[in-house]
Each structure stands twice: as structure tokens, then as C-alpha cells.
């Protein structure tokens, strides 16, 4: 007989738009956990958690601080999760979006919990990427690179301009600290120059922000790449760059009578 649902730590995401995107399984874990440690980005997610588990719900938003290094905030969150696990509580760690996408403390909490002998699991949820694919009609099957904007700017990263490209957290470009409302986006001209190694200046790009309430349309602002240097994106904006063209055929590939037969070595 296998053991089911005996996790000490369960990590869930509330989706981007809580109404309709919070899974039944996540709702059930939130309801039944001894402690729900959460980071919510919208008032509905927070209210849902508090309504489902009024005794156990505890926000971890107080770990954020204006201009505080996010890495320090995340370390404190993980420590708090671990302290509750060690106290013998069944913990649900709930964050907005997908708990494994652009969220390091969730992964770290699972790693640390398992290292200390606790059973831990992460559940999938709806991320901004999922919303973007739906809202912009993007199918990643034709190739899709997903990079954090500051990481792309500061490291030796390479882009395939013949596939889709997503640059995350462009609104917090180059700023490792937390800001309540907007970040100081100083690196945008440098980012645009780096992107122009791959794209023509007039290549159409899109700044995307998913809707968080029912009946609200996503915010999509489109314009030429070079114009990006002059604007200040919202803190939760994602930059979507469509392909410049279809990929070039590989001259080493050869075709047989029934389809691709192989690649010449």
C-alpha cells in the first residue's frame, strides 16, 4: 500500500488570477494544513487563504522591506518555513503564480525540508508564462527562451532570434532590492543595445502584464525595440519578443521518402 498525501510540506501557487486559477487540490491543502505561510500579490488570494484557514494563515509579507535585498527576505522566509516544520506542523507554503517559476524560496524550502527528513512536494499552478501563451497566442513548440532580464543583461547569455523570447522581471531590471511600487530601471538602454545584437531596431516587441481580476483584459503595450529604452515598465511586466523569422533549415539534415531520415555527421 502506497502512502498518499502524507507530506509535511506542500508548496502551492494561487495562480495569477485567483478567481478561476486556484486549483481544487491547492484549495484543499490550504484548508487542511496546520499552517499556511503565504505570499500573496492580490487581496483576493490573501482573503481566500484567510477564509479557508483562519487559524493557520500567516502572511510572510512582513519579511519584505523597502530597498531590502530580496535574497535576505527569501532566506528569512525559508527559515520560517523550516521552524514551523521542526515544530511538528504540517505546512502549506503558498505563493502567487506558479510556486516553482521565478520563486527561489519555494525550491529552497523543499530542498531543505527533504534534507532534514521531511516529506515535501510542490504542486503545479498557473504562471504568468501560461497566461502570456494564452493571451498572446504564443505556442512555445517553435522554440521559446525564457530568461530573467537582469540575468540576461549581466551574464553571457545567447538568444535564438528565430524562436520566441521572454524576458522576465524587466520592470525590476538590475535592482536586487524590493520596491513597493516601482523599480529604478537604469539598465534599459543597455538591455536594448544587447538585444539589438539579435534584432533590428524596429522589431516589434510587447510588454505584457497579466490580468489579476475577472473581466479585466491583460495589459499589452507593443512598439519597436529601440523605443523600449525610453519607457519605464511596470514592476511585474514581462517582455515578449516574437521571432524575427522562421528558423533556417539545417543543411546537414536530409529527408527520406517517409520524412526526416537523419542528420549527416
Amino acid at each position: 500500500m502506497i502512502k498518499m498525501n502524507d507530506e509535511h510540506l506542500i508548496v502551492v501557487g494561487t495562480g495569477i488570477r485567483t478567481v478561476g486559477q486556484l486549483s481544487m487540490e491547492s484549495l484543499a491543502w490550504i484548508k487542511t494544513a496546520d499552517k499556511v505561510l503565504y505570499v500573496a500579490s492580490d487581496p483576493i488570494a490573501e482573503e481566500v487563504i484567510m477564509a479557508l484557514n483562519p487559524e493557520g494563515a500567516e502572511s510572510m509579507a512582513h519579511f519584505y522591506g523597502e530597498n531590502k535585498q530580496r535574497t535576505e527576505t527569501y532566506r528569512q522566509m525559508v527559515e520560517h518555513v523550516m521552524a514551523n516544520l521542526r515544530a511538528g506542523r504540517r505546512v502549506c507554503f503558498a505563493v502567487y503564480g506558479h510556486p516553482g517559476v521565478l520563486v527561489s524560496p519555494t525550491h529552497e524550502a523543499i530542498r531543505r525540508a527533504r534534507a532534514e527528513g521531511f516529506k515535501a512536494r510542490m504542486l503545479p499552478a498557473i504562471s504568468t508564462e501560461d497566461c502570456l501563451f494564452a493571451d498572446l497566442g504564443v505556442d512555445p513548440v517553435s522554440g521559446c527562451q525564457s530568461l530573467e532580464a537582469t540575468d540576461f543583461l549581466s551574464n553571457l547569455r545567447y538568444i535564438d532570434p528565430h524562436g520566441h523570447v521572454l524576458l522576465w522581471q524587466i520592470g525590476g531590471l538590475g535592482d536586487p532590492t524590493f520596491k513597493r511600487y516601482s523599480f529604478d530601471v537604469r539598465g534599459m538602454p543597455q538591455l536594448v543595445r544587447k538585444l539589438m545584437r539579435y534584432y533590428p531596431p524596429h522589431h516589434l516587441v510587447h510588454l505584457y502584464e497579466a490580468a489579476i481580476f475577472p473581466g479585466v483584459e491583460p495589459a499589452i503595450h507593443s512598439g519597436p525595440l529601440h523605443y523600449l529604452a525610453q519607457i519605464r515598465p511596470m514592476s511585474n511586466s514581462t517582455l515578449y519578443i516574437p521571432p524575427v523569422s522562421a528558423p533556417f533549415p539545417d543543411p546537414a539534415a536530409w529527408w527520406g521518402p517517409s520524412g526526416v531520415a537523419g542528420v549527416r555527421e
Binding site: V19, G20, L22, P43, I44, V48, F213, V216, A219
Partner: protein, 59 residues
């Protein structure tokens, strides 16, 4: 019922969400959401809805 309570209900009750998807304005009205808050909900303005739910000044 406040708008916030109604949205919590929609997030946790698939039957009520189904009613809302079928006829949003009737479902919200039948749930007892005030005319003012229904106007906010159906404004399509994310900032306005957020401000109402958190009682912030819309910016």
C-alpha cells in the same frame, strides 16, 4: 455581500463561478453585491478594482 467576499466565493465555489461565467451581472446582483461595487467590478479597470479591494486611492 462585499465585492471582496464575492470574489472569494467565486475563487472557492465552482457552482457560483459557473453562474458568474454564464451571466456575470445577474450573478453578482443576485449575490447581493452593491450597485456601486458591481460598477467597479465591471469597469474592467484593474487599478480601480485593486484600489477598492484594498481601500487605496487609485493611481
Amino acid at each position: 455581500m462585499t465585492l471582496k467576499s464575492y470574489l472569494v466565493l467565486l475563487a472557492t465555489d465552482v457552482g457560483r463561478l459557473g453562474d458568474f461565467l454564464a451571466n456575470p451581472s445577474a450573478a453578482a446582483e443576485n449575490a447581493g453585491v452593491s450597485k456601486e461595487e458591481r460598477a467597479i467590478l465591471f469597469s474592467g479597470d484593474q487599478g480601480l478594482i485593486y484600489a477598492n479591494l484594498t481601500r487605496l486611492d487609485p493611481k
